[in-house]
Symmetry: C2
Subunit: 158 residues, 2 copies
């Protein structure tokens, strides 16, 4: 009897181990995040700001250069709505690489961005930036941005 | 017999679920990371650079403001060794908050830094920065820095 119980226990352990290893498809999550970042940039470019705002977690932090830390989605929204009023303001970004945690609940991406403004001389001012974003998965399985930080690069990033 | 097997299976499942939840002590990992960051800053302050270099992962990326992305520890080392030759160069940092993934293999911290340089007029130039660091745990259980990005803040960060 004990021996049979042990076999069932061993079988249960094997099944469970196999299951827990397979629950997170990190490659799929990585692809989901790359797609999400590209779609997010596109939404912002098309001025669909309310859709864009859904990507930030309520407790997200944004760290814009030469500016205090923006703590929470309310502060982020205010900052972005002001930026959108700057003449000629345009921002776009593109993910370069992504890494997902084993548990599939946290990830980070290295990205690049381009910011445009109208200069006072009528010419466009274009700056290239390096970006790090951190993501956490909600209880409902949706990835949300929790950290958004960038700084300038001397030129376009490969 | 089947009923008894089911009981054993249920017991095994319960034990395993309980175990898997307890394997990662995220509070402990969070404290470990906060301590590691403070110790890292102290090592750099004391000029113990070889000890400091052990904290970066071989494939870490550093994103200094107004500079290209530094891809890998070799590029990071070169950048830091040059920075250390700047007259009066001093850097220190302090972690403000930390978040650890469920699996305990990835984490990020929001930090603040202070950089000092000698100005040409003989006065110190002091800049305050906002920092994001991302960490991954090695197979041997040691946390390594994989991303280090910062930008300037208008003044000291609370």
């Amino acid at each position: 009897m004990i021996f049979k119980h042990a076999i069932v226990l061993a079988a249960a352990l094997t099944v469970l181990c196999a299951c827990s290893e397979e629950t997170v498809d990190r490659d799929l999550e990585a692809q989901t995040l790359m797609d999400l970042s590209r779609e997010w940039s596109q939404r912002v470019g098309e001025g669909e700001m309310e859709l864009a705002f859904t990507v930030w977690a309520d407790d997200a932090v944004m760290l814009p250069p030469n500016f205090p830390m923006l703590d929470g989605k309310v502060a982020i929204r205010e900052y972005i709505e002001r930026a959108n009023q700057i003449p000629g303001f345009k921002i776009s970004w593109e993910p370069l690489r992504v890494q997902v945690s084993e548990s599939g609940d946290m990830a980070y991406m290295i990205e690049r961005n381009v910011i445009e403004l109208d200069g006072t001389d009528g010419n466009k001012i274009v700056t290239h930036g390096k970006v790090v974003t951190v993501w956490q998965k909600n209880d409902d399985g949706k990835w949300k941005n929790v950290v958004d930080v960038w700084n300038s690069a001397p030129g376009p990033i490969d």
